[in-house]
């Protein structure tokens, strides 16, 4: 192969590499910071059940994979004269964090719910509260550690709906 041919081939290859480099590098780079997710839980009293606090129970403004869990407590009281079987159900406003956010709800060492926010739409396990009695519910909110994307900048407000029915026990 003559030197001129080698020069031509080399020039073509170098040019192709240079073009390839120009194709790849001038992309708009990802921003250095990532917006965290934000989750708010609220509760309102019913005729049969009182709640404390009324309104906002938990605010998690900086939910991200691996971040510290956010905790809150909701005290539910039976205002009636009969024992009540009580459970909670979640009503998200947007559903944007259904798969990413995870909640754990416990009372007196018993787990009522542990799963994704989407699953809370079906409700928690039931607890029985005697007339005039109270049950503190401990709530822990986190983001799944395996969550890589789909949570950035998303917000949701979840209303914790209280459902109750008389157990038929003695008043």
């Amino acid at each position: 192969m003559s030197s001129i041919t080698i020069t031509k081939v080399a020039g073509l290859v170098l040019g192709a590499v240079a073009c390839g480099f120009l194709l790849v590098t001038p992309r708009i780079s990802r921003p250095a910071g990532v917006l965290d997710a934000s989750l708010t839980l609220t509760a309102t009293p019913t005729g049969e059940l009182g709640v404390a606090p009324i309104g906002t129970v938990l605010v998690a403004r900086h939910l991200s994979p691996g971040a510290e869990p956010v905790r809150g407590t909701l005290v539910v009281s039976n205002q009636t004269g009969v024992p009540l079987a009580v459970r909670l159900r979640g009503r998200p406003a947007t559903g944007d964090l259904d798969d990413a956010a995870r909640l754990r709800i416990t009372t007196a060492g018993r787990t009522l719910f542990d799963g994704h926010l989407a699953a809370l739409r079906s409700g928690t396990r039931m607890i029985t509260i005697r007339p005039g009695g109270r049950a503190p519910l401990r709530i822990v909110a986190t983001l799944r550690p395996q969550t890589r994307s789909g949570f950035e900048g998303r917000t949701d407000e979840v209303a914790l709906e209280l459902l109750s029915a008389s157990t038929g026990g003695p008043a």
Binding site: P26, G47, T94, G132
Partner: protein
């Protein structure tokens, strides 16, 4: 290959590669904007009480001069501001004209036991006694939404979400001979909320 052809070939290669780079450059410089998360949700009107389907009062063998108090807590948990009215749709017996009824509104400290006990009840300073009369008169003048007894928490003009009010019903039989054996018959009190 003559010089002209060499130049043309070089230009061809440069042009082809430049086109590819140009496409990438235009791609890098494009941008978009979105408006996501749109949703629509209607408000709610929800009212409840703490009777758990038990009667507020079920009194027998009452004697004149004795007043019995019973309390019931009504909670509004709807998201829309509402007006709440109290009325009864069930007729009462004629002898209910000898049964005095006073309805007060207020708050109650602590958790009553039993649920309809009035210990700790404090009447509102503003309009704390929305009704005083006989059970018969109440049942004939407050029969539906149009003529129901409008009562608001405190000095408010409407019910907002999480507002609660305790209603104290005080009943007694009149000290008059026709009142003997007076009986109201079973009757139902209704609280209705309508959004404003």
């Amino acid at each position: 290959m003559n010089t002209t052809r060499k130049v043309l070939l070089s230009l061809l290669v440069v042009g082809a590669l430049g086109t590819i780079v140009g496409l990438g450059a235009f791609s890098a410089f494009s941008s978009t904007t979105t408006n996501s998360g749109n949703s629509f949700t209607a408000g709610s009107v929800v009212i409840g009480d703490n009777d758990s389907n038990l009667a507020l009062y079920s009194l027998t063998n009452q004697k004149p001069g004795v007043t019995t108090d019973r309390c019931i807590k009504v909670t509004y948990s709807g998201s829309l501001d509402s007006t709440v009215k109290l009325y009864t749709t069930t007729p009462v017996n004629a002898s209910a004209q000898y049964i005095n009824l006073t309805i007060q509104k207020g708050t109650q400290s602590g958790t009553p036991s039993p649920w309809n006990d009035c210990t700790g009840f404090t009447a509102d300073t503003s309009g704390g006694t929305p009704y005083t009369g006989t059970l018969s008169n109440f049942a004939s003048t407050s029969t539906d939404w149009n003529n129901g007894l409008a009562v608001n928490p405190g000095a408010a003009t409407q019910w907002a979400q999480n507002d609660a009010l305790v209603y104290k019903f005080s009943t007694s039989v009149q000290d008059t001979p026709p009142a003997q054996n007076a009986s109201s018959g079973a009757h139902t009190f209704t609280w209705e909320a309508q959004n404003q």
